[in-house]
């Protein structure tokens, strides 16, 4: 009953002795989510009036509320000047990860959250790692940014670099593990419950099939919507925290 879990539409290329696999579903869904975000922002932008004195439209109110949320919740711990520059990056990361987590609960075969693929999660973490250097150099200059790695003592430099590496790795693994674990649990639990219900003689089978529906819906709500939202928040918060640590 769980055979579909390992099923993937994969394209394999042998390059130089190693085989490189492309998971087509994950790639398509990841690009589709990005495209959906672009369309959404274009649609919202059409509702905004260029005249600042115009009466507030509903889309403008939505944008204002969202920006307020990002400023208070995601960038509350960051200094105001850096926060203004970080806002587009962190808000985009949050929305992208959020939509990626949420798209997995659609009951369509083959559609899974792109973030439950390690490549997407680690790719996002590497993007954050790259932007720590970008913002560090932009704020402090190359000299002081590099000098930051030799603090507090020069011989601790390898440890600082290793720390960066481990931080990025755990940033990616955290998102990947949480989303994949939630998806696996939501897929496995109804099957296990069905098998247990089968042991009851007579009504067991019918009871299992009926009970499976609210169970699957509830698990998907908890793991997909709630934990997906929390993990997107954590991912964006940590991205802001990492960049702030490097840039200060």
């Amino acid at each position: 009953m769980l055979e579909h879990l390992g099923e993937e539409l994969t394209l394999r290329f042998p390059i130089g002795g190693t085989e490189i696999a492309f998971n087509l579903v994950v790639m398509a869904v990841a690009v589709a989510v990005a495209g959906g975000l672009v369309l959404l922002s274009l649609w919202i932008r059409r509702g905004l009036s260029p005249d600042p004195d115009a009466p507030l439209s509903r889309r403008a109110a939505l944008v204002a509320a969202a920006i307020d949320f990002f400023r208070d919740q995601l960038l509350g711990g960051v200094s105001p000047q850096l926060g203004e520059r970080l806002l587009p990056l962190v808000a985009t990361l949050f929305l992208y990860v959020l939509l990626c987590n949420w798209i997995g609960i659609l009951p369509i075969p083959y559609i899974v959250s792109p973030t439950q693929d390690l490549n997407v999660a680690l790719g996002l973490a590497l993007l954050v790692y790259g932007s720590t250097h970008y913002y560090g150099i932009r704020t402090k200059g190359v000299r002081r940014h590099v000098a930051g790695y030799f603090e507090p003592f020069p011989f601790l430099m390898p440890l600082n670099i290793l720390g960066d590496f481990g931080r990025t790795l755990s940033h990616g693994f955290r998102l990947f593990g949480n989303i994949l674990g939630g998806a696996l649990l939501a897929a496995v639990t109804p099957v296990v419950v069905l098998r247990i219900a089968d042991l009851i003689p007579g009504v067991g089978r019918a009871l299992g099939w009926v009970g499976q529906v609210p169970l699957a819906v509830g698990l998907n709500l908890v793991f997909g919507l709630f934990f997906g939202g929390i993990q997107a928040l954590v991912f964006a918060l940590l991205a802001a925290a990492y960049i702030q640590v490097t840039a200060d």
């Binding site: 919740q73 711990g77 693994f173 955290r174 949480n178 994949l180 696996l184 954590v234």
Partner: protein, 80 residues
């Protein structure tokens, strides 16, 4: 054939032990963080927003080792 079955059994056992023991530390850590954050919020309710944000970050960091053991368990189950 015999060996195959032993390897299968060892795989499932290893995944279960890995996840079970690995979850202890993360659970204890998150419990402590939550308890202390609640203490602080009860003492200073006006700080609740800042504390909540810091608590979520600390939770995520305490969870890291648990996530590592989850990844190892998943690798044991589906990849090895």
């Amino acid at each position: 054939m015999e060996l195959e079955a032993v390897v299968q059994a060892a795989k499932y056992l290893a995944a279960g032990i890995c996840m079970g023991i690995g979850a202890i530390g993360a659970a204890l850590g998150e419990g402590m963080i939550g308890a202390h954050a609640l203490d602080a919020m009860a003492r200073q309710p006006e700080m609740a927003n800042t504390l909540l944000r810091t608590m979520v970050i600390a939770d995520a960091i305490a969870e890291t080792t648990g996530i590592y053991s989850l990844v190892v368990a998943i690798v044991l189950l589906f990849v090895v």
